[in-house]
Symmetry: C3
Subunit: 429 residues, 3 copies
Amino acid sequence: MSETLVERLHGELSRHPHIDPHSHIEPQRAAATCLADILGYHYFTELAHSAGVPREQIEGDSLSADSRLDAVVGGLERFSNTVQHGWLLKIARDLFGLEAATVTPDNWRELDALVRERSSQPGWEDRVLAESRIEAVFLTNDFDDPLEGFDTNRYVPCLRVDELVFHTGKPGVLDRLSESAGLEVTSAETCLEAIGRTAARFRRGGARAAAISLPPSFRPELVEAAAFSRSFEAVQTHGLAADLADREIVSKGIFWHVAECCREQQMPFDLMIGVRRGVYPGGVFQGQDLLDGRLSLADYAPLFNAFPQVTFPVSVLSHPLNHELVSFAWIFPNVLPFGHWWYANTPAVIERDLEQRLEAVPRTKLLGYYSDMYKLEFGYPKFAMYREILARVLAKRFVVERGWSEEAALHLGLDLLVHNPRRVFYGDS
Amino acid sequence: MSETLVERLHGELSRHPHIDPHSHIEPQRAAATCLADILGYHYFTELAHSAGVPREQIEGDSLSADSRLDAVVGGLERFSNTVQHGWLLKIARDLFGLEAATVTPDNWRELDALVRERSSQPGWEDRVLAESRIEAVFLTNDFDDPLEGFDTNRYVPCLRVDELVFHTGKPGVLDRLSESAGLEVTSAETCLEAIGRTAARFRRGGARAAAISLPPSFRPELVEAAAFSRSFEAVQTHGLAADLADREIVSKGIFWHVAECCREQQMPFDLMIGVRRGVYPGGVFQGQDLLDGRLSLADYAPLFNAFPQVTFPVSVLSHPLNHELVSFAWIFPNVLPFGHWWYANTPAVIERDLEQRLEAVPRTKLLGYYSDMYKLEFGYPKFAMYREILARVLAKRFVVERGWSEEAALHLGLDLLVHNPRRVFYGDS
Amino acid sequence: MSETLVERLHGELSRHPHIDPHSHIEPQRAAATCLADILGYHYFTELAHSAGVPREQIEGDSLSADSRLDAVVGGLERFSNTVQHGWLLKIARDLFGLEAATVTPDNWRELDALVRERSSQPGWEDRVLAESRIEAVFLTNDFDDPLEGFDTNRYVPCLRVDELVFHTGKPGVLDRLSESAGLEVTSAETCLEAIGRTAARFRRGGARAAAISLPPSFRPELVEAAAFSRSFEAVQTHGLAADLADREIVSKGIFWHVAECCREQQMPFDLMIGVRRGVYPGGVFQGQDLLDGRLSLADYAPLFNAFPQVTFPVSVLSHPLNHELVSFAWIFPNVLPFGHWWYANTPAVIERDLEQRLEAVPRTKLLGYYSDMYKLEFGYPKFAMYREILARVLAKRFVVERGWSEEAALHLGLDLLVHNPRRVFYGDS
């Protein structure tokens, strides 16, 4: 397989703007303003910590910003092999013009100055998005986010429901729901009604999806109204101290109701399946969660069956589950493989997962990639990485092995990268 | 790795006729007679449905044959990336002479005419088999199949026991067993005796294997005779309404007895492990089943240990389980990796599974491939696909990486494709 | 990707001596003295048996050594495809000078003579180690091994604790512990104290790690002292007949205590996770164990969290669990991917596992490879195999795909092969 073929495909794929259907961008602080905004990304802090930098040197309010940066930069060399380190260099060199081959204790202040300078220039966000070929970025909004003060065409709201589903009993959650929905939540019924109003408010506010991350132990199912009411009362009364059984019933009931709201609002419901929170409590901020592969998508069949009108973009965190994801998407019209998530977002894993998807799931259903980024600059190296892998897989599996024309292979790639996300989330045809 | 090397190996592999040790061919309607016989294959109907074609347009007696074809053909472009779509084109162009690059709403009638014309010519079955290099096709016969009216050298009977094992209590099953075995089934004992007679009848009728597909939850074990009798009575009395515990005991008992029959009759017992039936009840015919990877082949150790004289060709539906299959076949003399089944029968999955098997399981134990086909024409593209992958893996892993001669690599490939299936199912040395 | 690039990297990697951080070498009988020492390796006996050679012909005291060799050699051709067969040829040809292309019933006596001749020459061990680039070999020592009579710089002790943890109640185990620790074990307390003394004795004797293999069902957790005492008494009284619950509590308690000893002694604790013992009792010696992938490394989070000061080199037996291993090593500072173990020690599996590790785990934490050998000669083909795969992955994933210089890729490879094992087990920086 010639590198030239790969390069041509990569070049063509890189010409087309697309949406980024999942991120954690804060629309009013979208771009980085200093190096700490870049190196504060959990991938760098957690890898530095994993490689031996003590947590106390990486985070903690008593530290100066400089000493925190010193700590993380000091650890970079120890994970210079990782793809995440590659993202950093691509940002530093391509977006900010660092000339050094890598970021070191000796040159990070120079890079920090470059970040501060460029990002303060007018139009920096536009430029980063243009370089990344991203024309719209989906957000991750709390259910009580007012969705105001930003351009919702560029920064597209997405209703994140983890808190409502899994932390219903946490102090403040139901109060915030009451207030944001404009309806006093006093019962199971009013809670569901308030969630319905929230979904409608999000839809009116430009939201194009709801989303949730789910632990491996979660089993979606319809809960009887009476049982839900009883358990809801228990959770309302006892909060986090309610019985586990009651909390689980409330989680299942609200989750199911969100799916109903998605049906009503005609919004896709992104399922991000398989994360275990807080596995490493000694880890850095956002570097404490892991995965556990002991689940099957068969657990979600009740949901997929009950909501044929709802589109479920599905991400799995455990690489071995990709084969189930491919198989379920091959059969269920409403199950769509969605990007490459977190611990499954590294090149060799993406490549294996992608080639399985491309040969067995209808091309119209493959939602190629999302950045999952917290700062706008990360869309650039992440999508670049994905396009390279996509070009390589198209070249090998379709042009070389199956004898497709380059043009046909390119068109298939553009379905994943450009057309499908547009159609699925915007209803464009 | 040069494409020429791959092509040479592929060319050599393609010269040798072989058996097809698992299919669903109906021997008296083996070949397709019209395009509906081709496009009615569940791979096409389920992928069209998955890609958005409503089930009501695909199947249902009130539809005309033409409108059903219109519906499926209308969906083809949406899954033109899949390997299954590739099978269709290979059949249409190579076997039936379609000249168009693909099958479209505008040309399917032309293809239908070609299918009708060619398949009505004398010797069509012979020609399809010859093009596919298949010299004998194993069937999937109900336990009460009379095994009459066809050439059992070409169409080799195989005793499928799913119904006996898992649907013992379904109305009619035991009556059909009584009748076909010529023995009134009135008790656990007579049931087992009737199954023994059935196995003997099949063996006399040319059968070369028994076969069963198994859900992920199945756990084979020896059941005490008394417990089996009690549960059998319950199932006989209450049918499908019998307690789950009784039904499970009956399943285990009959399954174990089938293994005993295989020992007596010296027949391999094909185990196809890991399918969950009816996961998507809204799916099209034969497009409702899926998989669930939560099992271990260690669950089958009691069976493998109890029947050292029985050969178990084993297929797993979940790709991650291939590593267990390789490991168990590496240790147990009677466990043989068997083909690439259903959701695991796509090129990138086959390639990974195959290269693991080839480097760790004795070459004499690798049963390369079976078509699983319902119509004879599908053996052609499926075996062609397999041979291409096999050639590629032999070239890369053996010739290039391990320095084998092409001839040695070819011989290894022929063991999988030709020699082993012959020896294992026919006892040829 | 050019083969020349791979060869250059392989050549460079092969110039550097390194340690072998896990083996089963007996230091006073380290090298083979005859062909039976080579072909008696379980890989050959179990594969011959799996391929149809009866166990009775392979082992059993009543057989002559020659007839046993005849049996295994007679089976070789049936697994000539396996990588293990490749190891044999590499040893026979490169180390012992066999000129024939393979080992056959006709030439094994010649090979046997070559083995006897060369291995009896002075300096044979030195020469084998030099050819293998191995400068020190870690052992697997019983807890009551006196650690005397060998050079512990070359043959480095390692405290293997399987017996203490899982067979506490086996007749003789506690007596041996009493004697070797110089402390009468009469209670839970004295047992833990004796284990502590054992760990200290090993450390003083040059041990650089403790190690254990663990079944898939094991769940490490802290056991209350009182519960441990009660269960220990039950195990002391009833031995193997003690209740399973008591035996499990004793296993958990002793395991946890070993981790505490490792913390005190500043020794890494090697965890080899996922083996099921005795799955195939009809198998040959050491060819009866298999794997079962139904576990998650999340089960080990309590251990990793409780002992941040202990380094845990972790091997998993099930290939699909490599993704969890990568993810846990990416987050937990004290979890280090350790080699490629047993059923996961074949080229295609190593390649997949390695490329995932290399792109997501800090380079300083990757412990490349160990031989797991019983006789010194096997370090030669096993490390050679690993270096070839490592060269290939570095060439493809780093030089070609990520644009690294060859020198940088080589340095990364040397971290895995040479530097990290040195630093982790010796504390060298």
